[in-house]
Symmetry: C2
Subunit: 215 residues, 2 copies
């Protein structure tokens, strides 16, 4: 019974890590679609909606099945509960990448991001993707250290978002309302993506250390 | 054993419904703080952060405890899992009300919302609060009909958000970048608040009908 549980939980966490990597890949593609007005890449990210939902629904059901059939206790139970939370986080990460891809598609063939904010978003894109990969590694290795690293990267994302506001609200901003609104929303989507990656890492940290990962 | 489970689950769902109503109340206060530049109300909403977190952490732990000590199966298990998801939704709803209150506080004593968009936000505030109350009623009564009503209200919130964009991007907009960015973000927060209320209702619908509530 316990061996079956271990095996199924192992497959589940592997799939979860793969899904977190997929979220990172989608964010990379969405970021490129945005900065290069690449309609094909934007469409690719948006088209993955059904697959992501099916994947996450499947993982969610496998969590419930593990609870029903294996009735795990103690650490085993906590791992299934953590996995259920992480599935929700991964799904939101994918959705947020799609929101960015949808802005790229809506504004195509224009590049919706003026030059002043482009390097900030480029950095946010790199950080977001790397956060998703760190979250995946945290799931695979059950490594609370990378949870700490994630929190640092998350702080940098927050700082970048504040920098965007300073640029948008400065007197030098000459692009008017629409690109400013797009930039504010895109910044919000990156920030939430990072928050979810950190939430996954906190779950892992909680599992390993037994206490909530406070910052 | 089963009676204990029923009793504890009953208390938990009562608390969950109360928390959903609290989220609605916080959104009402945040909306008033925003439209009337009421700093006291904004501070009140923001000050509830610790209480909300403690409340949701407590409900989350009680869900896990129910799983560990009672090892529920079938519908009982699904109810605990649904409650766990709903706790996450309620916590996010409270956080989103706080985001709106923080904008009201940051811009005080100014009213951050220009006249053109004020009626739209007033309607969004009413809808959001009523969605939270409907979600609470759905939890209490396990009523999938109100889930359908929630979905309709959610559609109206989406339509209002599109109307905001039309106002912000029209040639008549004379308030510049900063109020437009605030309005876009506030619209996003109301929309997400509504999404979470609908997610709770879907969980309830799933429990009652046994199949996911598709729109």
């Amino acid at each position: 019974m316990r061996e079956t549980f271990r095996a199924e939980l192992g497959t589940l966490t592997d799939d979860l890590a793969r899904a977190a990597r997929l979220a990172g890949q989608m964010m990379t593609n969405a970021s490129t679609a945005l900065s290069q007005a690449d309609l094909g890449l934007a469409e690719l990210v948006i088209s993955q909606e059904g697959d992501i939902k099916a994947l996450c629904d499947d993982m969610d059901q496998r969590c419930v099945k593990l609870l029903v059939l294996q009735a795990p206790v103690a650490t085993d139970l906590r791992m299934v509960v953590a996995a259920m939370h992480a599935v929700g986080d991964v799904q939101r990460m994918c959705n947020l990448a799609q929101h960015i891809a949808k802005i790229a598609r809506m504004k195509h063939p224009a590049v919706p991001i003026p030059d002043e904010v482009r390097p900030v978003f480029a950095r946010m894109g790199v950080l977001a993707t790397s956060l998703a990969q760190d979250a995946a590694a945290a799931i695979e290795n059950q490594d609370p250290l990378s949870a700490h690293r994630l929190a640092q990267a998350d702080d940098e994302v927050d700082a970048l978002r504040r920098r965007i506001f300073r640029i948008l609200f400065s007197e030098d901003w000459s692009h008017g309302v629409e690109p400013a609104v797009d930039a504010a929303l895109i910044g919000r989507y990156y920030e939430r993506f990072a928050d979810h990656a950190v939430a996954i890492a906190r779950q892992v940290s909680f599992l390993v250390t037994g206490s909530p990962h406070e910052r």
